[in-house]
Symmetry: C2
Subunit: 471 residues, 2 copies
């Protein structure tokens, strides 16, 4: 059976899964948790084989950590499933009940989306989280994980699927796609697949978005910003910036661009440069920011931090094309920038590094910071550091992103940290779910109306009138 | 200025409109209503010119009725605006407030979608409804109406825009596109336009969906069904079917396919055929349905209704390809079907007629009805006629459509009839808004988090723990 036929079977099974009771779906989750626990040796053996193959392929240590599925990770996903069971049923919630006229009653009721395709990175825990979120929300799911964990995924999937079906869910509730070419087949199933959630690199997500008629939820870029305001508390600013850049550098919610208010830039930027140098983070940005860093280092910061020889390139030689004021305001040809700092083109502020590099720019205030973020950002998560309520309020109102934060790290953008139990992904789209997508993002609704022979002609002719009374 | 530049300006203005108070947006709506009233002579003069041009072009009477904008329609749209003012503000609603940890507070707040492009048919009242819904919901809108009402639209747009700006909304809150080639330009504005809402023919909506990267909300098809169950009250069934087919035949919520339970088909179908013949509606469908109609007419119905000569083609000659049982169950070669009835291929059940034609099929029960609807329908609006609660409940649970109705006409699928004040369109998508789209469908949300220097590293290391307390 190919993916298209399987998707067709899934589409037909979807209303049956949607109609299953919350008790049955929760019982299936409990069965999944128990089965994963019972099959732990088989799961670990498969994971050892995946890890051995990855090591033979010379996969890096950071990636190996993600591939690994050990006792700790198994216990985490089982704990996650147990938490999911305790969450309220997202289905059959009446979100609007209205009497349109005597005997004509409307209800808006939450229902599953239907058939969801999720394509995700090589992380065994992701397979468990995504499949159990879909079971809880009554959605059929086609799962395609990264090939580096193919053996682990197969055992996990078979365990989860068998337990779910044993507990009474339709056999077509879950399907695993294992071959890379099945992705293209999946992309052409617009008649039967209601939603695709791709996770992975920018290029991969863009490919999915450009090659299917199925609605896509997710994000390509995560160009997150932190704006350090003139009223920022510097004792929290540097730790937040370090956390946002280094706590998980490859994550979409890691900070990529730091904007600093001009009034504090002269003192703050050298401190930032010093702290970032200590964490092996390279800075790139405007000439003005580079000069202020160099100035601060020359004025004494360099000796204090043990940085020497931090002065090198002349700004006049650098191809500065920034259209805003800051580079013009500092046209002194003799100014110098630190060796570790790279002057860059303005359009590079769109870049998502996902490594130990950050862009930096000096701005005139919160208005310019907001303009920069709305122009160069990816509407993912952006933060302000300020003690000023009015400035914070302006920033949070005006920045057009899924997450707008004050005085905390952008790394909080995550379904678990929002208390959603888990997430199937993070959406930068403005339709449907935005930000981390948990159970609520996996449901839609239908309008149910019950009458007693009501016809529209009676209302058009004026024989009857609507009275719209919410129940 | 071209559409792309205008859309860019709009994108920059969108956060300002989003930040405007509900009072200011309501004041703008009041100003719009007053201005429309004051400019009525100018509006009517423009509409007369449009009507004269349409008459000269030989436009049909039904279309002329839609183009017309007279005192009655002006008063209706003004009443609609006054109703819109009284509706609660859809913005800045806190839909989730949660303390993630001490001092780390998350809120989910409703915000406008941003910049919306709406392309709609030649109906002046649509321009007023769409622009005022966008003002109320804080969205910038690019409006492109049908060319047959170009003069009326221009006066209406200028009146609305001037009043809104005078009341303090940003100048870039509304833009009118007047040239057809501007549609293609609009389709390429994926960086600045957040949502497109196309209204019009199936082919037009498909064209929009296939030629843009901007998310599209709306519907191409409206293949609505009514299933007449064996427990149907026949005294309401025929009036509902007539209303659903004839009250506004060209509407997307008009019924296209009628499914009838086999147990009552022999008596019900001849009555349906008689009533539809009286309303000049042609029936098409399976051989079985045709034979039952013919049988009923022969048995006496024909004389009673004055229908003569209603027996013609032989079913054996017709290319019946239906895969289900009913055609096999009636293989008698000598059976006849009425002259006014056309046997059709099974895949034609996908057809949306939008004229006085309906498809008809006999089914074995609610399960087969649901399967037919989920397979051939467009997930718009489908109804069951039955006095049996259990059968109704199964139908409403299992049919995968935006609207599932019992014992009333499919024509109720409409924003005004749902009590939404008005609608920008009807969505058959399962993401974001589904069914008639009013104010709630025009907003999204953002997550706001406020901390006091909180970093994720502290939670990863176990130094701090989330406690997730809803506020």
């Amino acid at each position: 059976m190919n993916i298209r036929e399987e998707a067709r079977a899934m589409k037909l099974a979807a209303p049956k899964l949607a109609a299953s009771s919350a008790d049955r779906r929760n019982a299936a989750l409990a069965a999944v948790a128990a089965a994963l626990d019972a099959k732990r040796d088989e799961i670990f053996a498969a994971n050892h084989a995946d890890m051995d193959a990855a090591a033979a392929d010379g996969v890096s240590g950071a990636v190996m950590k993600r591939l690994k599925f050990d006792t700790g990770k198994l216990e985490d996903v089982i704990k996650g499933i147990q938490q999911l069971i305790t969450l309220p049923d997202p289905l059959n919630k009446v979100t609007l009940a209205r009497e349109l006229d005597e005997g004509l009653i409307m209800q808006r009721v939450s229902v599953p989306i239907g058939v969801i395709g999720v394509i995700f990175e090589a992380r065994p825990d992701a397979l468990v989280q995504i499949s159990t979120l879909c079971i809880k929300s009554g959605n059929c799911a086609i799962l395609k994980g990264g090939k580096e964990t193919a053996r682990t995924n197969r055992v996990l999937f078979e365990t989860i699927h068998a337990a779910a079906v044993e507990a009474g869910l339709p056999a077509a509730c879950l399907l695993q796609a294992e071959l890379h070419n099945e992705i293209d087949e999946l992309l052409s199933c617009e008649k039967d697949v209601d939603l695709l959630i791709p996770r992975g690199s920018n290029a991969f997500v863009q490919y999915i978005m450009n090659n299917t008629k199925i609605p896509v939820m997710g994000h390509a870029d995560g160009v997150c910003h932190i704006y350090v305001d003139k009223d920022a508390d510097e004792t929290i600013a540097i730790p937040i910036l370090l956390d946002a850049k280094t706590q998980y550098t490859a994550a979409c919610n890691a900070v990529e661009t730091i904007l600093v208010h001009r009034d504090i830039a002269k003192t703050f930027l050298p401190k930032l440069a010093e702290a970032f140098r200590g964490a092996d983070i390279r800075l790139r940005g405007t000439a003005e920011a580079g000069e202020l860093i160099a100035g601060g280092l020359l004025a004494g910061g360099a000796e204090a931090s043990g940085i020497t020889g931090a002065v090198g390139k002349e700004t006049t030689a650098a191809p500065v094309t920034a259209g805003t004021n800051e580079s013009v305001q500092n046209p002194d040809a003799g100014s110098v920038i630190p060796e570790n700092y790279e002057i860059m083109q303005e359009d590079e502020f769109h870049r998502e590094y996902l490594e130990l590099i950050a862009s930096v720019r000096v701005v005139s205030g919160v208005e310019e910071a907001v303009e920069h973020i709305n122009r160069f950002g990816s509407h993912h998560t952006d933060a302000i550091i300020t003690a000023n309520d009015e400035t914070a309020s302006y920033f949070m109102q005006m920045v057009d992103s899924a997450g707008v934060y004050r005085n905390c790290s952008t790394r909080f953008a995550d379904g678990f940290r929002y208390g959603f139990g888990a997430e199937v992904g993070i959406s930068t789209s403005k339709l449907h779910a935005r930000g981390p997508v948990g159970l609520e993002g996996l449901v839609t609704y239908k309008y149910e109306i019950t009458g007693a022979g009501h016809i529209v002609g009676d209302y058009a002719s004026g024989r009857r009138q609507f009275h719209f009374r919410d129940l």
